[in-house]
Symmetry: C2
Subunit: 334 residues, 2 copies
């Protein structure tokens, strides 16, 4: 038996944090896992890969890496309106440090249990630190959130607050990929906000309940991983429509307002990555209903603009004036 | 739109090698893919991660990396008796070279089409070269091959030839992880065998048809990725049984016999990795049937030993004499 199997057994398969759910017929320990898919449901699947130094800072803790990686994948389920079912993990480690692996598995499986989404397989290999998570979920055929479907006149909604994750990098002492214009206020009360920003960056809240509850009310939707402007752009392109966003309506957290200028907060919200909030387009007749759903879940949900029959994304402010920022959206292969 | 999306669209989603199958309701281009799972089938899933310099040599071509990576995952489906359905790809690239990505996608999708297993999603990120493939398949509830089930008296069968991939590394000029004792004959006709060994290493034949056809005849099974001794060891441990293997019955290819001594060929078969042949345990009353199935598929299938009521793996030769090799099985975290 090689060390890989010892690790998997000890820290993942037989961890006290591991758990089962009835759809999992066969879990960790074979060449594949087996799942029962209820006949009235469709399978929804997604993959996200995270690499040290690219998707999380080199010095991130094992638990932080674990939670962020799974949260990002859960967010994809939320964006589809899916119910998370189970996931597999491809973990790449430079060296095996038992403490590290133990903390990683504890962080991973604690979040997994919170979403009733057990780990059912994967592998551990040697190489530069990184991981790939593959997640399965269940969707009702008639309540899938797709990117296709937005129509002129639909209102644009976003959940939670935007820009916190991009500002978090600065607060945590890392450079911003948004350029030098994006900086903190000199007299920012950083230590007061540290916990908020750490959580925003490493433990984004997957909006799973919101996605499920809104699936039949929206015309399209996705999760915001690369900044609202870029991600909304995918919806515009796919549906051959335009949009107007009111930058003064963008939801900015109290912590962000404390630590950065209004303009920097807006740039972070539009072009920063890693927020993992949901963006929906909503037909006008459903806006009351979706706002009621969000209130019921006590999830912030803000109307930030409208789909137009144009082809571009226009930014305006509260006075209706057009605004421009230098486009600084994150580019994987700059 | 960032470059990642351009790459995915051009080389994967809209590649002339891409194809659809009816179960795929939604493929590349959204936050998740959607699959219809036929109500009488279970879902079988598996993940394999491959890292440059660990799972394939640094200098491997894009098409070689692509085909090997998908073949390894298809082999997991074969090992479960599953019918491949679809897969996702997490690709990590240091730099984007259009020629490389084009050759990669062509190799990947060509093999995918051969097994009617389309690419339905994934991501491309920046980092050290590597990839993680996640594959879905369908199984009949009553014909799943598991590792659990082997009983004393069951015969042990392996498909194809063993050891070729380990010898291929030497033939291709790479060091062997099996140690210095594993070397080629000085007067080996290497150039004659190069094509055979390149194929063995980079394009292992996923034994998908064999797995499906044998699923209801075997008591347990898996695919051989880390050498027969180590992988059979998983079956022994899981079932609390032992085994006797006749090393003179191990299937050694003609090319291997030309290039290495009998002992080196046997060591490569037992302890070399990357063969991706199937190993089955078969109740005595099913041996005639499974041999007939293999003949029908013109797939080599060799009886190499028997499950015992012991707890260890014993090696014997044709004369019944016990044999020992230094254990040199591959260890991911040596």
């Amino acid at each position: 038996m090689t060390k890989e199997f010892d690790l998997i057994r000890q820290y993942f398969a037989e961890s006290k944090h591991q758990f089962r759910r009835s759809e999992v017929v066969l879990g960790i320990g074979d060449d594949g896992a087996i799942l029962n898919i209820p006949p009235d449901q469709q399978l929804c699947i997604s993959t996200d890969t995270l690499i040290a130094g690219v998707h999380f800072p080199i010095g991130a803790s094992a638990a932080q890496i674990a939670k962020k990686s799974l949260a990002v994948n859960l967010s994809d389920m939320a964006a589809m309106g899916a119910h998370p079912l189970a996931f597999t993990l491809g973990l790449v480690l430079e060296v095996v440090d038992d403490t590290w692996v133990s903390e990683f598995s504890e962080g991973l499986l604690t979040l997994a249990r919170q979403f009733n989404c057990p780990l059912i397989g994967g592998d551990i290999t040697r190489g530069p630190l990184g991981l790939s998570i593959h997640i399965q979920g269940l969707v009702n055929k008639d309540a899938v959130i797709r990117r296709k479907g937005a129509k002129p006149g639909d209102k644009i909604y976003v959940s939670g607050y935007l820009g916190d994750a991009a500002l978090a990098l600065l607060v945590l002492g890392h450079p911003s990929h948004l350029g030098e214009d994006v900086r903190l206020l000199q007299d920012a009360p950083l230590s007061d906000c540290l916990t908020h920003f750490e959580k925003a960056y490493y433990q984004p809240e997957p909006r799973v309940e919101l996605g499920q509850a809104c699936a039949s009310l929206v015309s399209s939707g996705l999760d915001i991983s690369d900044g609202l402007a870029g991600d909304l752009g995918h919806i515009l392109q796919m549906n051959s429509v335009g949009a107007i966003l009111n930058i003064d309506a963008l939801p900015i957290s109290e912590s962000a307002n404390c630590c950065a200028s209004k303009e920097v907060c807006q740039m972070a919200a539009l072009y920063g990555g890693d927020d993992y909030e949901l963006c929906f387009t909503v037909p006008p007749q459903n806006t009351d209903a979706i706002e009621a759903v969000a209130r019921g879940l006590t999830t912030p949900l803000s109307c930030v603009g409208e789909i137009t029959s144009g082809t571009v994304l226009e930014l305006i402010d509260d006075t209706g004036q057009r605004v421009t920022f230098e486009n600084v959206a994150y580019e994987h292969f700059q």
